[in-house]
């Protein structure tokens, strides 16, 4: 990787007590576009690193005086975020562990493979840069609006990146994702980070109202427009003037309503029900759906022209099962939220309970997790919530294979072609391992009876015993 043009070159401190090796490395790395400085000892490295900040340190382990590991600890004490790559002549796992324990980002074995070194430098700098960006993004989005958008997973980081990128524009955004995945939170985050943040955000659930009511709700009505319309009322679009309208469950609206929405998006004006006056509206439209709008268009159930108007920017929210790494972060957040609400000091989950949270496929996504944690807080009598406080469905451990079952094509992409019989053998052993030897549970995972599982175990010679 070479340094990006117009941006200052990343600065590297190279530490090696072999002057020849040090000169060679600094020259080589400088040639890759980095600004380099050398230090001949661990002591000099600590002094230099404390004097001025570097983006990365590349350091030998074995040096006269203090070792690379000791120097690493000293530097990390004052600058924990700096990535440090360690060079060692010992390519054992133990030396990697020692370096990692001391806080090294990675370790490289000597003699150095320069391609690997170049790649490792680029990767470490990219990783450090992403972390900084992510932190900045979180600050930008704000703690309050980040609620529910919590996540350090790659999938969630992509969503946060996307939100930050599209928020300042005026583009219409179509947010898709399963129920409970946080579509409205994303809409709120976009509004909050947009130039319209000081204006209103008006959310309408299009599936919650009958068509006639939805029309009046969105566009307003004149006095006497229908029975009970005793006075003129402004619609949601007009109420959102200068701000944002969030149309949730857009896939549920009727053909007639689709046409009216299309006109609003095209003309930027509304007409109250029972009226003739056209009213200009200055709104940004965000829409959300848990349905496949493209498929609805293909079936003729959703207008293609409206789809394209709404889908200027598409933002897909990953289901929770695809970002399981975020579960502990979300759980901790909800523990704090419901702990405060219920005046309870529940600080965490037992490892077994956390295991359940991590295993569950969460068909109801973040909303389901939030409910489960709220229940755990309410039922918990101590500082740590256990399995017994979790909803019973989380303890069944049945649906471990659900993601693959729901997306067999995606799961198959990771597997080589094999004999069906071999695939079955692998599936049987994998289920037995995942169920930790519990045959009944393994059978449920495989979608067969226990008797059938036993027959398979016999067929493949895994057992000789009768059931």
């Amino acid at each position: 990787m070479t340094a990006v043009k117009d941006a200052p070159a990343p600065s590297l401190l190279v530490v090696d007590d072999d002057p020849g090796h040090l000169a060679m490395l600094t020259t080589l790395i400088r040639g890759w576009g980095y600004a380099t400085e050398g230090a001949h000892s661990g002591e000099a490295a600590v002094e230099t690193a404390l004097r001025r900040p570097f983006d990365l340190i590349l350091m030998d382990v074995r040096m006269a005086g203090i070792s690379g590991i000791e120097a690493l600890r000293a530097v990390k004490a004052s600058n924990p975020a700096i990535p440090i790559l360690i060079m060692t002549a010992y390519s054992t796992v133990e030396s990697a562990v020692e370096a990692l324990k001391a806080g090294a980002y990675d370790y490289l074995t000597k003699p150095l493979d320069f391609d690997v070194l170049r790649l490792s430098l680029a990767r470490a700098l990219e990783h450090a840069g992403l972390r900084k960006e992510n932190e900045a993004l979180r600050r930008e989005l704000g703690q309050a609006e980040g609620v529910g958008l919590i996540g350090a997973s790659r999938a969630m980081r992509r969503v946060l990146d996307m939100v930050a990128m599209i928020a300042p524009s005026e583009a219409t955004v179509l947010i898709s994702g399963e129920t409970g995945s946080g579509k409205e939170l994303v809409a709120r985050a976009i509004h909050k980070a947009s130039a319209r943040a000081s204006g209103p955000l008006v959310a309408v659930n299009c599936a919650a109202l009958a068509e006639s009511l939805l029309e009046s709700e969105l566009f307003g009505h004149e006095k006497g427009a229908f029975t009970g319309a005793e006075r003129r009322r402004e619609g949601r679009f007009k109420q959102a003037d200068g701000g944002t309208v969030f149309l949730d469950e857009i896939g549920e609206v009727s053909a007639a309503m689709q046409l009216r929405l299309l006109r609003v998006l095209q003309e930027r004006e509304v007409v109250r029900v029972g009226g003739n006056e056209t009213l200009p509206v200055d709104v940004r439209v965000l829409a959300a759906t848990n349905r496949d709008l493209r498929a609805l268009v293909a079936d003729g159930r959703f207008r293609q022209d409206l789809y394209y108007r709404l889908n200027v920017v598409a933002l897909h929210l990953p289901p929770l099962r695809e970002r399981a790494g975020d579960i502990p972060l979300l759980a901790a957040h909800f523990l704090q939220k419901y702990g405060a609400k219920n005046k309870k000091n529940v600080q965490g989950f037992t490892p077994a309970a956390m295991d359940c949270l991590l295993r569950h496929p969460w068909p109801g996504n973040v909303r389901e997790l939030e409910n489960a944690v709220e229940r755990a807080v309410v039922l918990s009598t101590g500082a740590i919530a256990g399995e017994r406080e979790l909803p019973p469905e989380l303890l069944a451990g049945v649906a471990v294979t659900a993601p693959a079952a729901q997306n067999p094509v995606g799961a198959a992409a990771a597997l080589p072609v094999m004999l069906l019989e071999d695939a079955e053998k692998i599936a049987v052993l994998a289920a037995m391992r995942e169920a930790e030897g519990n045959k009944s549970q393994a059978a449920r995972m495989l979608g067969v009876t226990r008797k059938t599982l036993h027959a398979k175990l016999r067929k493949y010679g895994f057992t000789r015993r009768p059931e």
Binding site: Y105, P351, D355, F462
Partner: protein
Amino acid sequence: MDNPAVSLDQAAALKRLDGDVDIYRVLAGVFLEDAPVQMDKLGEAIGSGDVQCAMGIAHTLKSGARTVGAMLLGELCAELECGLATGGQSPAGDVFARLLAEYRQIARLLETEIGC
């Protein structure tokens, strides 16, 4: 672990398998074949900061360990998985070191004493 009988609870594993020694031997064989590869991959994933990959491997190792009755190894895998999920890469090295030591002991026990 000083006491191998504690770290490898074969009786508990066999109980879950309804006392089926045949299946236990098959699953222990699979574990012995697969675990060294997974341990190498786990070390690489931790070293390179690939937290998601490391979590996936720790999860698989955890199930394999518990299946053969290596309960402490399973707990260490669970600790690593949770630690990676909550704290990312930084605390992983310490748990991995303990996990590695425990794994070596279990592998030796399975290979020699159990005869897998």
